[in-house]
């Protein structure tokens, strides 16, 4: 049901990192707003409108906080709203804060979308090429978690049933938990030496290790990668040239609407962000239609 599942993780990762770079460097409202809208749409396509809207309250709170921070801590700008403790509170600072809030929100949304499009193990398979040891470390640790949780429960149950440390009180409680944690750590370290034997028995550490090819790159990946590069060149142009820079101080409403060439550059950036929405949206729609036919 997820289009990204049929892509190579690298393609998905490159798309999202491009989008995140564009978002985090977008200062011009005309560049940021379309990105924000795509983020909301993408999230909506991924988890449904209802669950996306459920986050509205948290989002508003975040916007409000960031706006307030800027309002009361930044005292630049010409349009003074009022004075607080003798320092000016300006409209520009408020708007700058609002735009910061929107940016943060967009980043959070895209990150959430990324972790849905590219779940942990697929993301790790990206590292495993260039950082194989670190990737293996993470894989091992992930594999340990359920066992650790189970063992911790067993330890605290068995130690609790011994009845040696049944005193009450906060410090006692913490101490008992820590002592169980320390038993867990010791046991698991001991166990890991056996695991290491299992690794060495299967040739871990030999030069020339390879990686299983489980996700071959397809034509779809190639097409999307070419498309991404073609869009990325104009999309990054405002960042590199500085033409897309926006300054809230002083406020100039007339500059809110970019001229045609700048608009086209922004459109390229928006297109990168909209592409996943279209692809995932098509996928969701397809399943809806398929289901209604069954």
């Amino acid at each position: 049901m997820i289009y990204a599942d049929r892509l190579h993780p690298l393609t998905v990762f490159l798309f999202y990192s491009s989008i995140l770079i564009l978002t985090m460097t977008a200062t011009h409202p005309a560049a940021l707003l379309p990105l924000f809208v795509s983020a909301v749409l993408l999230r909506g396509v991924q988890i449904g409108a209802k669950r996306t809207l459920a986050g509205t309250l948290v989002a508003l709170l975040l916007l409000l906080t960031v706006t307030a921070i800027n309002l009361f801590l930044v005292h630049r700008g010409a349009k003074i709203l009022f004075f607080l403790n003798g320092r000016p509170v300006t409209l520009e600072a408020g708007l700058a804060g609002l735009s910061s809030g929107v940016m943060i929100l967009t980043v959070i949304l895209f990150c959430a979308c990324l972790s849905r499009s590219l779940p942990g193990d697929r993301l790790l398979s990206l590292f495993s090429r260039r950082l194989p040891r670190f990737a293996l470390l993470l894989r091992m640790a992930i594999g340990f978690l359920p066992r650790f949780r189970l063992r911790y429960r067993e330890i605290s149950e068995a130690r609790g049933a011994l009845g040696v440390a049944s005193e009450k009180g906060m410090i006692r409680k913490i101490k008992a938990r820590l002592s169980d944690l320390s038993i867990l750590m010791t046991l698991m370290l001991e166990e890991s030496m056996d695991r290491a034997d299992g690794m060495r028995a299967r040739g871990y550490g030999l030069p020339g290790a390879t990686r299983a090819v489980t996700e071959p790159k397809s034509r779809r990946d190639a097409v999307l990668a070419v498309l991404l590069i073609l869009l990325l060149v104009p999309a990054l142009y405002p960042l590199f040239s500085g033409r897309g820079d926006w300054n809230w101080y002083p406020l100039d409403f007339s500059a809110l609407i970019p001229d045609l060439s700048l608009a086209l550059f922004f459109a390229a950036g928006t297109a990168i962000a909209v592409l996943p929405v279209i692809l995932e949206g098509k996928e969701t729609l397809k399943w809806h239609i398929l289901r209604s036919r069954i």
Binding site: T25, L73, L131, M140, F148, L181, L184, M185, G208
Partner: protein, 227 residues
């Protein structure tokens, strides 16, 4: 351990990112420049970890410590503010050395955020916990590693560094620049938590250090780990 092509790739990748980060800095794009810098600061340790010729046992031990600190976050979830992550990372550093400490810290941040949510802040958390582990690791071959003053200091640094770096991200994200007044505001408003982190770190270390170090010492001796 890694082949030549990987080395070239990693160096080239790191080089390009450094240039890009410098450019962002020059252009005043701090929102991206700061997280990228944090990531770039963790990169040397990650590369060193790849290039260091060390065996399966060391890797397995570090993986266990990472798993423990992630699980520790879950075990102590009912007690807000009491997160044994820093303590476990510090103990890893004290037991197994600076690189192991850094990697455990960084891996813990990355891994636990698969549950708590990834984002630019991951880079700062990786750097914060990694650095704490690295600092602790500097004492791993000295007698000071059981010194209560050193332990206390490490615990406090663990709490403060974590808050300082995550607040750094919050400030830059919210204001687009590193505004001292805003940074200070965040630091002060987060102070109760910072204090709680630091106090719980010290408490954890006081209780855990002796038994854990005795156990890791035995392990090192029995299996010839990290020699």
């Amino acid at each position: 351990m890694t082949n030549a092509r990987t080395r070239v790739f990693l160096l080239a990748f790191g080089g390009v990112l450094v240039l890009f980060d410098a450019f962002l800095w020059f252009r005043g794009q701090y929102r991206l420049a700061f997280p990228l810098l944090a990531f770039l600061l963790t990169l040397p340790a990650l590369i060193a970890f790849e290039w260091r010729r060390s065996g399966a046992r060391e890797l397995a031990a570090i993986a266990v410590m990472t798993g423990i600190s992630v699980i520790g976050r879950v075990i102590f979830a009912p007690l807000p503010g009491f997160k044994p992550v820093s303590a476990v990372v510090i103990l890893t550093g004290l037991s197994f050395g600076p690189l192991a400490g850094f990697i455990t810290g960084a891996a813990t941040a990355l891994l636990s955020n698969f549950f708590f949510g990834q984002g630019p802040w991951t880079a700062f958390q990786m750097l914060a916990w990694g650095t704490v582990g690295l600092l602790a690791g500097l004492f791993s071959r000295t007698r000071l590693r059981k010194n209560p003053v050193v332990l206390g200091l490490l615990g406090v640094i663990g709490g403060v560094l974590f808050s300082a770096l995550t607040d750094l991200w919050t400030t830059v994200a919210a204001t687009g620049t590193l505004l001292p007044a805003a940074y200070l505001t965040f630091l002060i408003s987060g102070l109760p938590f910072t204090v709680l982190y630091a106090v719980s770190n010290v408490l954890f270390l006081v209780i855990l250090t002796r038994p854990i170090l005795r156990k890791t010492d035995r392990l090192k001796q029995k299996y010839g780990l990290f020699t």
